[in-house]
Symmetry: C2
Subunit: 205 residues, 2 copies
DNA sequence: AGCATAAACGGACTTTACCCCGTTTGCTAT
DNA sequence: ATAGCAAACGGGGTAAAGTCCGTTTATGCT
């Protein structure tokens, strides 16, 4: 007989069981090491050794060092978004879109400050700048809320990108400048207030 | 006699002549190599060798690989700003602040697209995200124009940061996503238009 | 169960950014 | 001039990211 054995073409197929196990184990190990040593001192060799796996495996799973941090952040992102989508009214459904947008910005600022170190580490120096989702979920949420606010003819997709950048950009700037052990609260408040002002300006009739 | 010979304390003093010479020579050499091989293939050893200098010197001058690209961009930035500050009216002085702001955004988009590769390479992966001026000049210009527009009580400093991010963020996002050999013009136009819409929204009475 | 195959694994190897420190050189004050 | 010295230079050394490829393993099919 001939070989029509080709199962599928090009399709990536499902992730194998051992792959899943190793990925989760590596992420858990990475979290441990991060808590103990900070992002700066996490090396690929170190992670592999501590996890009891080969270095090749680490790279196969995450592609790049930054990939690990991106994966970690994706988890946090998802938790955050779930909280946003199903939280109590100022943030979650039930309030006016504009109020939700304002509340979202405030929450997002807190979130970013909380996870600033991993976020930073997830930025890829080499090649494409904000590869991956980066802030995709955030942008989509903002985009959704904009759709519910009555704005004149406007390119909502572009506006969503702009607002996302206006929300996250300043944070990244501040977060990198200082180590903010104390200025933190002030920056958080100022940024949140600035977001509110901006959104109200943009969305007023 | 005692030694009041201490000339100054902590002050960095002036840059020595050989240092200046080497810095300029390295920048020129880097430009050559960039034109021939692209940013990706510029290595510190390669640069040092071609410039006929030691590797240590390259690092002493620029601190880091990204530092070279930052230095190159600083040159371009300065040229750009000069052009903006003393150019013909829609961009330079003589027009309404709001119109200048819009024109500035358009010019800036073009500038960024033109220099996207070096800009990207200048982003430091390791440590502090947008270290250095990055977009400081841009922000200051926007800040200045905002000051000339009559806006109600508003935190102009924060607003300037937000608008700068809203202008540059989307570009970085798009520029990284595609290699834009063709979509370029479309993206350029859409971003510029988006900027105009945003600014008009923010600044209307 | 047994087989075929694509995917995953491991770890040696390569490349490159960045550090260190002994040596050299341009300034400045005598 | 020239002595003293801070700054600059050079290039070998180190560490860590990322690649390669031969070996092992999970999975779907018969």
């Amino acid at each position: 007989m001939d070989r029509p054995v080709l199962p599928l073409v090009g399709a990536p197929r499902v992730e194998r069981a051992d792959a899943v196990r190793n990925r989760l184990h590596l992420l858990a190990t990475a979290r441990e090491m991060l808590a103990e040593q900070g992002t700066e001192n996490l090396t690929m060799d170190g992670l592999a050794e501590r996890a009891g796996l080969g270095k090749g495996t680490v790279f196969r799973r995450f592609g790049t060092r930054a990939g690990i941090f991106k994966a970690l952040m994706e988890d946090e992102e998802q938790a955050f978004q779930k909280q946003v989508l199903s939280g109590p009214p100022p943030l979650g459904p039930g309030a006016e879109p504009l109020d939700r947008l304002i509340a979202y910005g405030r929450a997002r600022v807190g979130f970013m400050i909380e996870h600033r170190e991993i976020t930073r580490a997830g930025l890829d120096g080499r090649q494409s700048v904000p590869t991956g989702s980066e802030a995709t979920l955030s942008r989509m949420h903002i985009r959704m809320l904009l759709g519910q606010i009555h704005l004149g003819a406007a390119d909502l997709d572009v506006l969503a990108v702009q607002l996302t950048a206006a929300l996250e950009g300043p944070l990244l700037l501040y977060l990198s400048a200082s180590d903010l052990t104390e200025a933190s609260l002030q920056i958080e408040e100022r940024t949140a207030q600035g977001w509110q002002d901006l959104v109200q300006r943009v969305c007023r009739p």
